[in-house]
Structures are given as C-alpha cells and as structure tokens.
Symmetry: C3
Subunit: 282 residues, 3 copies
C-alpha cells in the first residue's frame, strides 16, 4: 500500500505543478446512453483529476445539466488509468488569492450538495486510487463499484489536515460509526479488498468495463420505481446533513480560508511543493 | 417473491373493496396469559388486516389498555393465515372526506407513538407478509420473530409513494444506515431469510406456535428487570425520533392530506382500483 | 456469568463499606514510558476501584496533567487482579450530603468530558470486570483490549437504575444502534467473547501484559499523524454528544440528585447494604 501512495504522490506532484493546464480540453466528459438514458460523467483532468476550481465548476455544471434533463441515473468515473481522483488540488491552497480560495471552497460545497442530494440515482465506478477528495466524491454517490489493487479513504489526518464535518457525514452515511471514527482519526487508506469488507464500497470488479456493467445493473434496479418517490425518499434520508451544511456555508468557508492562510500551513505547503519539485527533477 | 406480491395484491384488492366490513366483529383481539401476564394483541380484520381508521383506532385503544394496566409485555400478531398486515388501506385515501382523512393519519401517528414509545416490552410475531404499514408496525416493536417464506419491507417507493420520516426512523433504529438507505430507495421487500440476514427481524420460526414461544422467551429476559428503569431507558433511546414527530404532527398531517388529494394521485388510485376490480371479477 | 456477578457483588460489598480508605495511598498511578511517551493511568482504589468522589477527582486531575503535557497517548487500566472498575460507589448515593452528591456527579461529568473528548488517543486495557460505570470509562476511550473470562456492560437496568443519555451515547458510538438498544434495555453484561463479537471491545488478550502491548500497538498507529489534525477530527466526530451534555449539565445533576434522594431509592440502598453486611459477616 505504501508503494501505491508513493506513486500517487509522484503523480500528484505533476498535477500540482500544472494547474494552468490546457483549457481547450474538456475537464468533464458527459455521455448519455440512448437505450438506458443513464449518463456517464468522466473526470478528465490528467494526470490524476486533481480537483481545482475549474474541474469542480465543470462537475457542478454537469450535475446541473443532468438534473435539468431529469436524468434517470449517473455513473461517475475517471479517464485516468490508475486514479479516480487524487483529491483537492493543493495548488489552490498555496499562496491563494482570497477571492479564488473562497470560490474554490464554495464550489466544492456546491458539488457536495448536488451530488449528495441529487434527485437521480448515482454510482461511482472507482477505477483507480481515490484518496481524500476523491473518496468524498464517491461517498456522495449511492453505490460504489471499485477495481482491485487501488486505495480509497478519507486520509486527511495523514496529510496533517482535518476532514470537514460534511466529509465525515458522507462516510458515516456509508460505514458504521465505529469504523468511521477509526478510519477518520487514523486517516486510513483502505485497499479495494478492505474497502469492500468494511462496506466503504459495495462491489469489486476486475476491470472498468465490468464495473460499468455492475453500475448499470444497480441503476436498473430503479427502473420500475417512481423517480419522484425515490428522490423524495433519498432526500429525506440525507436531509439532516444537507441542512447542517446549508446552515453553515459561510462559517465553513471562513474556517477553511482561516486554516489555509495560517503562516504555518503555507510554510508546510511550500516545503511539500519543493520536495515534489526535487522528486520530479530526478 | 414476485408471485407472493401478486397474491398479496389480489388479497389487498378484496380488502380494499370491503372497507365497510361487519363492525360487530372485533378488529383487534387481546388476550392476557394468566401465568406470564403477557398480552397477545391479534390484528383481526380479514382478509389481510388492511389498516383503516377503525382498525388503527382499535389498535390504539388496545395499547392504551395495556399501558393503563401496566402490562409486563405484549406480542403483536395476526389472525390471518399468510398476512401479518398488508399496510394502510388504500380506500382511506381514495376520494377521502377531509376530516376522516386527517383523523386516519392522526390515528396512525398515535399508534406509532404508543407502540414505538411503549413502556412495556413489545415483540412482533410476523406470521405472514408485512409490506409497508405492516412492516412499520413490526418495526415499532422491540423484537421481531418471523415465519419463513413471507416478505417484509418498507416498499413505499415501489408503490410510487414516500415513507414518512418517522417510518424511516423506525427502520434506521433497526438496521444499519447503509442498508436502510438502499432498502428505502429501492423499496425492497425482503424474504424472511434476507430479513434475518440484514437484521430486519431477529429470529425465524417454522410456525406461529414456535414464533410465539420465542416471543415469550424474549419477554422473559426482562423478568428480573425493574419495569420503570427499563421503560425510561427505552424512552431515552427513542426520544429523539419521538420528539421530532411530536414537534411536527400538524405539518405531517397537512403534508399527507396535500399529497393524497393531488388530482394525479387520485387518478392513480382510481386506475389501480379499477384494475383490482377487473382482476377480482375474473 | 452469574457466578462472576456474584463474586463481583461480594467484592463490591467490601468496597462499599470501606469508602473512607487510607488516603495516603494514591488512588490513581500515572507512569509515562520514556521511549514512547505514552502514559499508563492505573486505577488503584482496592479492592474493586469503586468510583467515589476522591477517585473520580484523581482521574480528572490525571487527565488534566496529560492534556497539559500534550500527551501522545494514554492507556487506562486497573491495579486490581480481576476487576477493571466495579462502577460508581454506592456509598456516595446512600444518605448523601447534598453538596457532596452534586460534586460527585459533576466530577463524573468532568471525567466523561475529559476522557470522551481528550485530544490524545486513549486505550482501555480491561484486565477485569467492567460493569456500569467501569464499562463507561472504557467506552470513553478510543480502543478497548480485554482479558478473557470477565464481564462488561452498561447493566444499569439490572440494578434498577437508568444509564444517563451520555452513558448511552458512548455505547452508541461503539456498537450498532440495534445492539445498543438491546444491551441497554436488558442491562446485558457481556462475556469477553461476546463483547468482542458485538464490537464492544476491539481485541482480546490472554494477559494484562499482552493487552498492554496491543494497546501500545494501537497508539503507535498514530505515530506519523499530526496530533492536532487527529484531535480536531476526533472532537468533530464526538462533538454532538459533548455539546448535548454541556448544554444540560445542571439539569442532569438536578435529575440525578432528585432520583437518588427519593425515599424509595434510599430504602432500596439500605436493604442492599444490609444484605451485603450480612454476606460479609459470614
């Protein structure tokens, strides 16, 4: 597991240093299957789908489109070969412009609201590593199919940071309170097998293709169910956590900005990025 | 499983069309065992114990009697051979009189309060199918023994409707959050075996007699425990959900009346009842 | 199991009748390992670590010391051979002086706050029986290692009393809601094996030495994790229950004083203590 984290860090570095990537390329690819009506939303910000402001905006807009078109279901996956999403792009936090930093966090909140509370059913096809923010995206979905030999988890404490309460809420909606407390304090990155065992993912699949088929099978289970009744039921179940963040959006942004702009945190990021540059130079 | 749902629907139809049944017959039979002091409350509205206003009132009154007599324990079961309760009587929702409709829902709330928060221990002997409202009654009890080859679940979404938050609360008090979300959005009807596996029921029993014996065994476990300490402990554990409905009784009734009286819902019920009539005529 | 409860009761009796023990002896022994920096806090009020005001104060002060010294981790255990802690000292409740009774309960609340919300990681090495208040102390820790052939549980209802909501909260943070409801209403005392199975403890260990080693292994898992991020994560997870008691401290004390000073409760305690004296005299 350590080796895979290391490899991921290498990729993260590359990603972090290229945050001004070619904007002509679409950050999110959405396709809709004519037969089933299900949409596949593919994260497409090479190399590791680091979640910067532009990618988050693109996800947010895709979710709006699906909702406006009364989608029958969505599959969230990645175009990268070994990474689902490496989580938040640390370049957004390093020497940030105040307005952009606020917008960054506010857009992440938007994505959480739209995904966690989506009226249509959602499945994550986790075809690669999914640490921190990557894990969060999958937890906001209603079902998770994962390919083997990757890692997943809200590993924030391992990075010296704290998963916000709404990250925690999505985990507590999925696994037991006991397992969630251990996972969050330890910052556990679970292997695919461990994730299945603890209930963090629902199924394993040997390839992305098989995983996609399983995702479709899950969505098919809602075929004969009234979308409106389904949606209202889901939202009633998830309403407490949704209202809690709604009531605290501004404070939550302020807290994030305050934490990120602490001199100590900025120094830590600087050291981290320098280390990454040296690694990349080798 | 599909066949059993079909058979149940046939019976439901008969029930629905006979909502003005012979009132000289007792809708709830209560007996008290002289030795143990335990009461058996038997739902007795043939053919499938559809919960109409009169049956709900009879249940509510039985629960009052038990509480006033400081009952040591209650077993809830059915006089029907293959159905515990088919759930709410749809005839209460079709072309309803406003006052009766309100009273119907308010009485269901009463039953929920009295059963979910009862001072005495409660066991459901589920000797037949228990969909929707039938499942709810069993979930309000503290222990569930089920006979094999039946189905149970809050299958509201399969019927195009939404289980209210207090239905959901009773399920979430029983099985894991994860399983509850899947069960409620999918409207899952579990087989007896599946129900045992997911924790929706505590034990299976080959016959009603064996199930009754197991229910008595459960109640016996409280023999040496102070009824007052037990009751206060139970109510402390269940107080949040109870207070939540108490604080929202009127809004909850208004919401139900609003939903039921929508023209689309009434049209749906009309089509459904006509289909049932045709089936019954065959 | 009944035999072990009986033996425990015999010891409790001795404890109850010697509440004015030799105060020159330290009620809590704290040692810190030079290598690891982990503290071991050993309850040391023979014979059964009944929690009286003085012992609770000593625990509270030890927790303050650890927090002030930015402890890296704590192991809570007992110097008694077969008892972790027998729970609250009933002599504090019998013919109490009003001020001392209030201080007793308030100090128990303090211990709960400091242990349940401690910034440093905590493990209970349960090297003997842990009923009621003894179980509570272990539940406030983040990890539990238990030696075989003892019993543990919030068995308050078996003693005719009610576990306060904050006792219940610590149990619900550890095992499933369903298991917690059954355990609390039945007042279940679990054997070590049963406790492991239900998740009430995390590991078993054949001896106190092995248990201590397992506790150190758990604490070692946090070696590379930022103590501040860890602590904030833990406190976010546990904040709801902590705030709930903070908001209700005074009412909770009043409720306790009211309950304890009821004539019926005092009569019950008198009968109980007389029975213990007779047993002790044999």
């Amino acid at each position: 597991m350590l080796r895979s984290i290391y490899r991921l860090t290498r990729k993260l570095s590359a990603s972090g240093l290229r945050s001004c990537s070619n904007t002509s390329q679409k950050l999110v690819l959405t396709t809709v299957d004519d037969k089933t009506g299900y949409a596949t939303v593919t994260l497409n910000r090479p190399p590791v789908n680091s979640l910067n402001l532009e990618l988050l905006k693109a996800i947010s807009e895709s979710l709006d489109d699906l909702q406006n078109n009364k989608s029958r279901g969505m599959i969230l996956t990645s175009s990268a070969k070994t990474v689902f999403s490496a989580g938040l792009d640390i370049m957004e936090m390093y020497k940030p412009k105040p307005d952009r930093l606020k917008e960054f966090w506010s857009t992440l909140q938007d994505v959480w609201f739209k995904l966690y509370g989506s009226p249509f059913p959602t499945v994550a096809v986790i075809n690669g590593h999914a640490p921190a923010g990557g894990c969060l995206l999958s937890l906001c979905c209603e079902y998770r199919v994962m390919c083997p030999n990757y890692t997943i988890g809200l590993n924030e404490t391992q990075l010296g940071i704290v998963a916000p309460t709404w990250f925690q809420a999505a985990l507590r909606n999925t696994i037991s309170r006991r397992d969630a407390e251990l996972a969050l304090t330890l910052g556990t990155l679970f292997s695919s097998d461990e994730a299945l065992k603890v209930g963090l993912v629902d199924e394993l699949a040997d390839s992305k293709e098989v995983a996609m088929a399983k995702a479709v099978s899950f969505l098919d289970r809602f075929k004969k169910i009234s979308p409106q009744a389904r949606s209202m039921t889901k939202q009633a179940l998830r309403s407490k956590e949704i209202m809690e963040l709604e009531d605290n959006r501004t404070q939550d942004i302020d807290l994030f900005v305050f934490a990120v702009t602490q001199p100590k945190v900025q120094q830590g990021l600087e050291l981290y990025l320098e280390a990454l540059k040296k690694k990349a130079a080798k």
